[in-house]
């Protein structure tokens, strides 16, 4: 192994953190933005480099480990393995794009904005890389707090109420998580929070049931899945769109990641008990969210509900415990992030130019902005998982897993495929096609920066849709440990 | 019945009666007087139990100093009339019920405590000033010293509260 590689995870934490702290003390917006850009670009570089250094065959659960709180058996342990690499890459990819897209003067006291964004960046990286339950929990919260502030300070009119609902909801969830973690820590053989010793915990069926519920609620709220989702549409709508991008592209993956990294490997008995119920609820929720999306007149809310349906599919896939579904989720988490990012960028451009989110007030943008429309159409079709876009691969595999689990559930979930076409195309039609409405008369096509960012995303969408095999190589080591306890051999 | 027992019952019943009168007399001055009677009966009990020092101190400190202070304050406030408004009836009922049930519960809890019998013969003289003083200034010197802080603070406190401010505090 390349020794510097071992330090990559730590760098991914410290860099954004340092950048964030620096940002708070910079008065000039340009310098702050540059700092943010440099830091996030460096992170991206590190993640990309780690892709080359990582060796799937060499699977380990800890790479970096500093002693932190010896008194209670926690150490600052991080790992970059197959499960985390794609998510770290996604995080590292999303942030520079967001920074690039923010025009000067959009946000008051921009240095704080960038600082908080970088803190979020740091928190997200930490969540994904943590190899210690306590560290995981801390970053889990660290990712939440800055987002709360970002949304509440720079958000829409009803921001305070909406983001507060979001905050309290997710905070409650994470408190459940905390209880679960502490219980596990206390009732296992070794006095340690490390992921290895957690995986080795031997729990009775009752304990597993309780702990499962605690963990599950936390992750379910974060994802969010039906019926824990009601914070999400409001929060997405009210948050400033760059923050919404973080929320929906990366942050929701925290919940999924939690399910894969912690929930499923830890509580095999409980998972097996509950998974059918959970999958059914999730699938019903997918259809539910899709139906609501059909009715939405608010562009951001529509995307939010669509996201609930898509995340729901991944969550359902995870609980099938089928390795094909989990492999699908691992790539789909990345791909969904890319797709929804593209959708949000488009939504943001529209909101910035027209000042409205109401679909009924929009229309005919395609005539004014053909370039934007091309990107939107691609993103929209990626959103409905058209083959040769990236989402198809993952969703295909997840559906396959669902089918293996219970064919009728796959059929039921499939209804959401149809519904997703309905609402996505409705949106495309009402926003982009038709006659130009009053709101879009002054619409201009997108700037060069926007084109380049959207192009990068589009290229990702297509390449990952046509030739996804390299992604499967990166994640090849990840599935085994997740479902190890379910296959005794 | 031995004289001690007679005394015990006499003091006890008098004490309880006076205590009730403290609670139920509507004139504060009478309350104070009944309370002084309670203290006297309690001093009597102390003597019965051969705790002469406490009996004396009780009379001096409580009946003498403290109650005079009370009386003084009551007089100072001109409250020697019987017109104290009463609490509402259900509140008084609730008070009586809860006080009574606390007594019942404590009695029920403590009624069979291992058969300790307190024979009030004159064994030992621990209640005498000499013996108490010896222990107080050897073993109990630390609390004794420390209670001086208590007095200091009570003193400072009383001064702070009672002192008349010349003018409102200016900032």
């Amino acid at each position: 192994m390349f020794s510097a590689f071992d330090n990559f995870p730590a760098l991914l934490i410290w860099l954004p953190l340092a950048g964030a702290l620096l940002s708070f003390f910079i008065r000039s917006e340009i310098v702050a933005k540059t700092t943010a850009l440099v830091v996030s670009a460096l992170s991206l570089g590190i993640v990309v480099a780690s892709l080359f250094y990582s060796d799937p065959k060499f699977y380990q659960l800890t790479q970096v480990s500093y002693v932190w709180l010896p008194g209670i058996g926690s150490s600052f342990a991080l790992v970059l393995d197959g499960l985390t690499t794609t998510l770290c890459l996604l995080t590292a990819l999303v942030f520079p794009m967001i920074f690039l897209l923010i025009p000067k003067g959009r946000f008051q006291s921009a240095n704080n904005f960038y600082g908080l964004m970088l803190l979020t960046h740091c928190g997200l990286m930490g969540v994904f890389m943590a190899a210690d339950a306590l560290v995981f929990y801390l970053f889990w919260e660290l990712a939440l707090i800055p987002v709360y502030f970002l949304s509440s300070i720079w958000g829409g009119e009803k921001r305070i109420k909406a983001t507060f609902k979001f905050f309290i909801y997710t905070f409650l969830g994470s408190l459940f998580l905390l209880i679960g973690i502490l219980y596990l820590y206390l009732h296992q053989n070794t006095q340690s929070f490390s992921i290895v010793s957690f995986y080795g915990a031997e729990l009775t069926a009752t304990e597993q049931t309780w702990l499962f519920l605690l963990f599950f609620v936390a992750f379910a709220i974060k994802m969010p899945i039906f019926p824990f989702h009601t914070w999400q549409p409001d929060a997405y709508e009210q948050a400033p769109t760059p923050v919404t991008m973080v929320l929906s592209a990366v942050m929701v993956k925290m919940g999924l990641f939690g399910v894969l990294r912690w929930l499923i490997p830890l509580f095999p008995l409980a998972v097996k008990n509950f998974n059918t119920t959970i999958i059914i609820v999730i699938v019903v929720g997918m259809i539910y969210a899709s139906l609501i999306a059909i009715y939405q007149d608010n562009l951001k809310k529509l995307i939010a509900y669509s996201s609930i349906a898509h995340i729901g599919l991944m969550a359902a896939g995870a609980f099938t415990l089928s390795s094909v579904a989990i492999e699908g989720i691992l790539v789909q988490m990345f791909n969904h992030g890319i797709n929804i990012m593209a959708l949000w960028i488009v939504a943001d451009i529209i909101e910035q130019q027209t000042g409205t989110n109401k679909i009924s007030a929009l229309g005919g943008i395609a005539k004014k902005a053909p370039m934007l429309s091309v990107f939107l159409v691609i993103a929209a079709f990626a959103n409905i998982a058209l083959p040769l876009t990236n989402a198809f691969v993952g969703e295909f595999m997840i559906f396959n897993g669902l089918y293996q689990f219970k064919p009728w559930i796959a059929a039921l979930a499939g209804v959401s495929i149809i519904l997703s076409a309905v609402y996505t195309l409705n949106m495309v039609k009402n926003v982009f096609y038709g006659e130009s409405s009053a709101a879009v008369t002054k619409f201009t096509d997108i700037s060069r920066v926007q084109v380049s960012v959207l192009s990068v995303l589009t290229i990702f969408i297509l390449i990952a849709g046509i030739y996804p095999t390299p992604m499967f190589e990166f994640i090849s080591d990840a599935v085994g440990p997740i479902i190890k306890k379910y296959n005794p051999n | 019945m031995h004289i001690t027992e007679i005394l015990f019952w006499f003091l006890t019943s008098l004490s309880l009666f006076s205590a009730l009168m403290v609670v139920f007399s509507s004139n504060p001055v009478y309350s104070v007087l009944w309370l002084i009677l309670v203290f006297f009966t309690i001093s009597g009990h102390y003597i019965l139990m051969n705790a002469q020092f406490l009996a004396i101190v009780n009379m001096i400190v409580y009946a003498g100093a403290i109650m005079v202070l009370f009386l003084f304050v009551i007089m100072f406030m001109n409250m020697n009339k019987e017109s104290e408004p009463q609490k509402s009836n259900w509140l008084r009922l609730a008070a009586a019920v809860s006080g009574g049930s606390l007594m019942l519960i404590l009695v029920a809890a403590l009624k069979d405590n291992g058969g300790f019998i307190n024979s009030l013969r004159g064994e030992g003289n621990i209640g005498l000033i000499k013996n108490l003083g010896k222990v107080l200034f050897t073993q109990y010197v630390v609390p004794f010293e420390i209670s001086s802080i208590l007095f200091l603070s009570a003193m400072v406190g009383a001064v702070v509260l009672a002192k008349k401010e010349k003018s409102p505090v200016v900032s």
Partner: protein, 114 residues
């Protein structure tokens, strides 16, 4: 020799204590309430002395020179000391209040609630 079970003292003390509590609960005059609290303290005192005697007698059987039981009597002494200090401050507070509202009725203490 006359023998009085310690239970009598306990019951007596508890009764006195409860009367004090009832007084605290039923009266509205702050001074009377305070006096009822003194009543409660005296109930404790008598109980302590009784216990002191009890423990002393028990120990005396084994050792004539024992000082067992002194500590309770000293405790009573300290209670009296503290009570005195408390009375000082308490009456000062009551007087202060009286100076302001010309009443010591605790039912009028209701500016602070909810």
């Amino acid at each position: 020799m006359p023998v009085i079970p310690v239970n009598y003292y306990i019951f007596f003390s508890v009764a006195l204590f409860s009367i004090g509590i009832v007084g605290v609960l039923t009266r509205r005059n702050a001074i009377i309430i305070f006096m009822c609290i003194e009543l409660m303290l005296n109930a404790v005192n008598i109980l302590l002395v009784a216990f002191s005697k009890m423990h002393h007698v028990n120990a005396y059987v084994l050792d004539r020179a024992t000082t067992v039981g002194t500590e309770a009597q000293l405790f009573v002494f300290f209670i009296m000391v503290v009570a005195a200090a408390e009375v000082t401050v308490g009456l000062a507070i009551i007087v202060m209040l009286f100076r302001n509202i010309h009443s010591v009725d605790i039912n009028f203490l209701n500016r602070l609630k909810h």
